[in-house]
Symmetry: C2
Subunit: 150 residues, 2 copies
Amino acid sequence: MNEQSGYDIEDLQVGMTGTFAKTITEADILIFAGVSGDVNAVHLNEEYAASTPFKGRIAHGMLSASLISAVLANRLPGPGTVYLEQSLKFLNPVRPGDTVNATVQVLEINEARCRVLLQTICSVNGAAVIEGTAQVKVGSSVRRAAKAAA
Amino acid sequence: MNEQSGYDIEDLQVGMTGTFAKTITEADILIFAGVSGDVNAVHLNEEYAASTPFKGRIAHGMLSASLISAVLANRLPGPGTVYLEQSLKFLNPVRPGDTVNATVQVLEINEARCRVLLQTICSVNGAAVIEGTAQVKVGSSVRRAAKAAA
């Protein structure tokens, strides 16, 4: 672990999981529209959204996806993680009031390059709403110790 | 075009581009931390961030990426677009005060399935900070007309 309780490359094993969950409120959707500039009517206009196949307002896909960033940064690998790549498939809509559970699982570890590939899934009531993978870079306790001793 | 001035599949051509730019302020970063739950010290703690290779606070990668969602939803293909997939490579950091320019360009059109593949690039001062592709679904004026006539 590093000073901020983040996992180093030597601490990680294939199969380890981390999770973060958050209820997506109407306020989250309004605020995300302002921060992103994405004012799509399907997120903000109930009358329009009710006329679409979604039958009502839905959250921005990138809002739910941002919870993956939170798991990676806060839990696994945790503080010190550098985000390199993310792929996202938006499978199902998220509605105001839904609790999104973001889960990551270590798929591959490249110790020489300090890189980790993780499966990333967001789900609501057990059903996947987003699937994909993330690639991140983490620190190395071995390299820190070598540097300190040099 | 549909009723909301969004492009239908018949309106799109390979090579068409759309863009949306936004200055990423300190307020955006704080608000994004709250909405996403990503409270990584590199985004919020100047003393810590200054000690990292980034030499100061940087914006969340997903915050800049959310501007891609804005281009797709507001400009090209515009209103009515359904977000299916997004890949992201985080190439360079974005700092408070940077203006992020998100640009999308049509790469492939599948008229039968109403699907469009777009290249998606976010840049700061002309240098790419995020690269990737998006897949979206759009409407069809031909199918709407056929449905109305039926």
